[in-house]
Amino acid sequence: MESKIEVVELNAGFGSTHVLKNISMSIPRNRVTAIIGPSGCGKSTFVRCLNRIHELVPGAWVRGKVLLDGKNIYDSDVDPVDIRRRVGMVFQKPNPFPAMSIFDNIAYGPKIHGMKKGLERIVEDSLRKAALWDEVKHRLKDSPVSLSGGQQQRLCIARALAVEPEVILFDEPCSALDPVATAKIEDLILELRENYTIVIVTHNMQQAARIADYTAFFLMGELIEYGETAQIFENPRDKRTEDYITGRFG
């Protein structure tokens, strides 16, 4: 399996708190990789290190390497803004810009990255890829606040797609959504896999089982087990993984 991201001995934390401990793993191209683990295990910090937004928090630190197509994103000659464009992120709570129209929510990213031409094309393409176009094409000037939670989340996915990323990180993208909206996002993630590399943090074990090709189990900042999703859920090698996924943890 060709890897898109190679994480090598990654350590990260905040001040004197050491959150991630020596994580090494390879994230395959055009596949969905799920990160599971109990609260506080470092899942979110981990994905935030993959597009350099962890360092935006005061006191945050990172050691080790994250190779994106072989190039360490923490090298001094790398522009973090460019990394954040190539590695997009969708957060737990849908967070469209409320003061902007649906159209401008999507167009904003391409504009600040200097992609001034063909904005209408970009907006339509992004909304189509996010399976939202048919639902909003007649109300592009409306505020995103009028959309349902599931639609807002798909708008955020469209916004991430608009700047042509290569990797999309999802941090608990369905935890605020009902089962129907969740199913739509899951279908969408499986479709997006064709063209993007996906990493998803989830507390929902069934969600990881449904959509991820690979699953990594984190515990107290360590990577305990990483393998094909079916193997993790049918026959985990490590007792701690087994105890966590069967709900016998702690």
Partner: protein, 217 residues
């Protein structure tokens, strides 16, 4: 004490599978006794056991499906539920084969068997031991001694081959009794199949407990 609904559901299924295994074992022993003693009452009791095994198997299947739908077991729990479905089918199949033996026994209400039975009851006793090994392993959630199961299965194969050769020579000597010889040949064949199923059940328990595939044939 089981704590969660999943654990309680699994424990119920475990008890039912152990009960079904006991019924299957009893059906095999009884069917061979019915034949050996030409006891029609025992033969009809095998029919009752077989019916009971069908119902219990169905009940286990439904409980397992419900557990999967509502509790979404994973890892060792998933392997357990899957193993119980398969093993329940295995035991039900054993009871089916025992019924076929009992049906042959019913043909001998009025007539003598071709020969006194010696090796066929030995086959039945070996099978009972194999099923006991399986049931003990399920009860304790431990892998059974698969070497021992394979050894007993090989012993059954040897007995079957011996019975086969013996019956062929009977047929050659007295073609008028080919029908009776064929009946006993079928009985031995059914018992040999049951032995295979009992050994495979043990291998299934190993996967359930350890997540390791073993092949017994």
């Amino acid at each position: 004490m089981p704590r969660t609904p999943l654990e309680r559901g699994m424990e119920k299924i475990r008890r039912e599978v152990i009960e079904l295994g006991g019924i299957a074992k009893q059906a095999v022993l009884l069917s061979v006794e019915a034949l050996k003693e030409r006891d029609m009452e025992k033969a009809s009791r095998v029919g009752e056991l077989e019916e009971k095994s069908d119902l219990l198997n169905l009940d286990i299947d439904e409980s397992a499906l419900k557990l999967m739908a509502l509790q979404q077991p994973v890892a060792r729990d998933l392997r357990f539920v899957n193993a119980m479905i398969k093993i329940s089918d295995n035991f039900e199949r054993i009871a089916d084969l025992a019924l076929k033996i009992a049906e042959i026994a019913q043909k001998y209400e009025e007539k003598e068997l071709l020969k006194p039975l010696i090796d066929i009851p030995r086959m039945a006793a070996t099978i009972a031991e194999m099923i006991d090994l399986d049931l003990e392993a399920i009860e304790r959630h431990e892998s059974p001694d698969t070497d021992k199961l394979v050894e007993m299965d090989d012993f059954l194969d040897d007995l079957y081959n011996q019975i086969y050769n013996e019956l062929i020579s009977y047929m050659l000597r007295d073609p008028r009794r080919i029908d009776d010889a064929t009946d006993l040949l079928f009985v031995a064949r059914y018992l040999e199949r049951i032995g295979d199923i009992a050994a495979k059940t043990g291998a299934r328990v190993v996967y359930m407990v350890e997540g390791r595939r073993v092949w017994v044939k």
